[in-house]
């Protein structure tokens, strides 16, 4: 049974809507756990004994944490480079008469960490340039 295509919007029954939302969330969690267990099992190559030893347990926990770290890293890195690529494309390809009021194309990479990092770096540059006049 796959609830993922069912959004809880448009379902008049509020209790069912929130139930579906909860169950969808639980299923997404389970899905990640299944996939991570499979991958980390391969990497951690548990010993032949009947129960997992301490080393394997540590390896599995590390594997999960590092996987999440690398996912976050990829999202942030792609976010920064995506914005830089868009900025350089604009300056090279478009004439000054181009209407920029539409803003940058939405690459679907709007993560909160990226957005705050990008805006803070541009204000820092403004501060740096004002220093030169002292």
């Amino acid at each position: 049974m796959d609830l993922s295509s069912m959004s809880s919007q448009g379902i008049g029954d509020a209790q069912l809507a929130s139930f579906i939302e909860q169950e969808n969330q639980k299923q997404r969690f389970q899905s990640v756990v299944h996939s991570l267990t499979e991958q980390c099992w391969e990497l951690c190559a548990p010993s032949i004994s009947s129960r997992l030893d301490g080393k394997s347990e540590t390896c599995l926990a590390n594997c999960v944490e590092r996987f999440i770290d690398s996912s976050n890293y990829i999202i942030n890195k792609l976010g920064q480079e995506g914005a830089a690529a868009v900025a350089s494309m604009k300056s090279n390809e478009f004439s000054t008469s181009t209407d920029f009021s539409m803003g940058a194309p939405d690459m679907g990479l709007q993560s909160p960490e990226f957005a705050s990092e990008y805006s803070s770096s541009s204000t820092q540059q403004d501060k740096k340039s004002s220093w030169k006049f002292w």
Binding site: D13, L16, L36, C40, L60
Partner: protein
């Protein structure tokens, strides 16, 4: 839809999802443990192969629990951070 009907539907959905998760776990476990324990398929499953599969299954389920716990705790930590 009255309350009893709704409860029934919700319980039934949860049952089906639980079954689905158990099936997925078993399927992945079977893959891994067959690969690990049966290198040369004979005409029957030997007792050493059976022992290996039992141990492997226990270990895989332990691993699943560890991953589940670690992932849940990590999510909680990330939520407190932001």
């Amino acid at each position: 839809m009255d309350g009893a009907q709704r409860q029934q539907i919700m319980a039934s959905v949860q049952q089906q999802l639980a079954l689905q998760n158990a099936q997925e776990l078993l399927q992945k476990l079977s893959d891994k443990c067959f690969k690990a324990c049966v290198q040369k398929p004979g005409s029957t499953l030997s007792s050493s192969e059976q022992k290996c599969i039992t141990s492997c299954s226990d270990r895989y389920m332990d691993a699943w629990n560890i991953v589940s716990r670690t992932y849940a705790e990590r999510i909680k930590r990330e939520q407190h951070r932001h």
